[in-house]
């Protein structure tokens, strides 16, 4: 790791996130994996006194096989449908053995949240159990080879929605579902905005009750995008309004965190992903309209 001495004067680096890492190198994430960025930032905000419940998802493989782990916090690899309630049980157990400090976090993919895990999540939210639920969303069942989930956006190719029959249902509105449970805190976040993600996780950590954070995590392998575009995609998706960054408190108070002066059209975003390559201009226009109307709808709820 040699390099020559720079000619310019050295100055102190100011990092926008704490330096301490809780995730190690050597994990099995693909090149440019958004899910690993999400974990890296979230753990910086959560700190050592954290316990993760990870159901079947990419992260159950990324972490590494028995007898290894790439994280410095404990993990309970739990059954697919149970992320939320396993976290609940873990939290209850920890409290009964005298540990009420450890933050228990369910860390699930979109499949384990929107589909198979939604019952347990709804139960936990209704009871307002004291856990943080993080969904890192790569918009399909990526771990099992890119099958569609209810988080897959309209128009996307997946192995179960091939080009001739691409996904013709919209992405499930998980924020609306969680807001209906009236939990204290809901937030969307993106790996393209790490400082915002960090802030939100930190904020969630200090709230009691069920907290839901939905992180947009691009997947080069499943989206057929270039690994180096992951962060760019995660920024564009916020800038064009497909995945706005906002918070909802108690299911009622909406705060928009990033309000682009002028939303970019979605074409450039779609062009960078092979999973949208088959879309005609007409179809893209339909998508654009949908994005526009959802954006207006969100703005109408926002109080800031």
């Amino acid at each position: 790791m040699d390099r020559g001495e720079p000619m310019r004067e050295k100055r102190k680096m100011k990092l926008s996130l704490p330096k301490e890492e809780y995730m190690n190198s050597g994990h099995r994430g693909c090149q440019g994996c958004g899910a690993t960025l999400a974990m890296r930032y979230a753990l910086k905000a959560l700190g050592q006194k954290t316990a993760l419940c990870i159901p079947a998802c990419c992260w159950s493989v990324i972490d590494g096989p028995f007898p290894y782990s790439s994280l410095d916090v404990p993990i309970y690899h739990c059954a697919f449908e149970t992320a939320a309630v396993s976290a609940s049980g873990l939290k209850a157990g920890l409290e009964m053995v005298g540990d009420s400090e450890t933050t228990v976090v369910a860390w699930a993919g979109d499949g384990g949240t929107f589909d198979i895990g939604i019952q347990a999540l709804s139960g936990v939210a209704e009871r307002n159990d004291d856990i943080i639920y993080v969904c890192y969303d790569n918009e399909a069942y990526m771990n099992t080879g890119i099958q569609r989930s209810s988080a897959t956006p309209w128009g996307a190719w997946t192995t179960t929605t091939p080009v001739k029959h691409y996904k013709d249902k919209p992405k499930k509105d998980m924020e609306a579902i969680m807001a209906a449970h009236r939990i204290p805190y809901i937030a969307t976040a993106s790996v393209g905005y790490p400082e915002d993600l960090f802030k939100k996780v930190k904020k969630a950590k200090d709230i009691k009750g069920t907290r839901f954070i939905h992180i947009y995590a691009p997947c080069p392998a499943g989206w057929k995008s270039r690994p180096e575009d992951t962060v760019k995609l995660a920024r564009m998706v916020v800038q064009n309004g497909i995945f706005p960054l906002f918070e909802i408190e108690w299911g009622e108070t909406y705060t928009l965190n990033i309000r682009p002066k002028e939303r970019k059209p979605i074409d450039d975003y779609l062009k960078l992903q092979g999973r949208f390559r088959h879309l005609t201009d007409n179809e893209i226009a339909i998508m654009q309209k949908e994005v526009d109307s959802r954006w207006e709808n969100l703005l109408s709820k926002v109080s800031n």
């Binding site: 001495e5 000619m7 190690n24 190198s25 099995r28 690993t36 590494g64 007898p67 993990i75």
Partner: protein, 108 residues
């Protein structure tokens, strides 16, 4: 390689040895991790590698921030790539505001 004795070894930071269980007596009761993944030198995954030009480096920390593999470390106020683990994804080069990181082909 580390051969386990009867005691369960607590996961330590920076421990990069693979683990071999001599017999079932060494295997923990339930499947639980007893070591880190640092033995997995993912640098072998690359076809291209990032090279930082310190001349033009702004010391902004953005490359460090966006590495999914924690393979960029800050040393003496400059980012340094850990080629043992760098997978060559190119995010650092793509995000660098001064474009001072170049992706070059790995030698065969």
């Amino acid at each position: 390689m580390k051969r386990l004795s009867k005691e369960i070894i607590i996961m330590k930071k920076n421990q990069d040895q693979t683990i071999v269980f001599e017999s079932e007596k060494d295997v923990p009761l339930m499947p639980m991790s007893v070591g880190s993944m640092l033995w997995n030198k993912t640098g072998g995954w690359r076809n291209i590698r990032p090279v930082i030009d310190p001349e033009n480096c702004l010391q902004c920390g953005i490359c460090w921030k966006f590495c999914p593999d924690v393979a960029i470390h800050i040393q003496n106020e400059y980012p340094v790539i850990d080629y043992e683990y760098c997978k060559g994804c190119g995010l650092c080069a793509e995000e660098c505001p001064s474009e001072c990181i170049t992706m070059v082909e790995e030698e065969k």
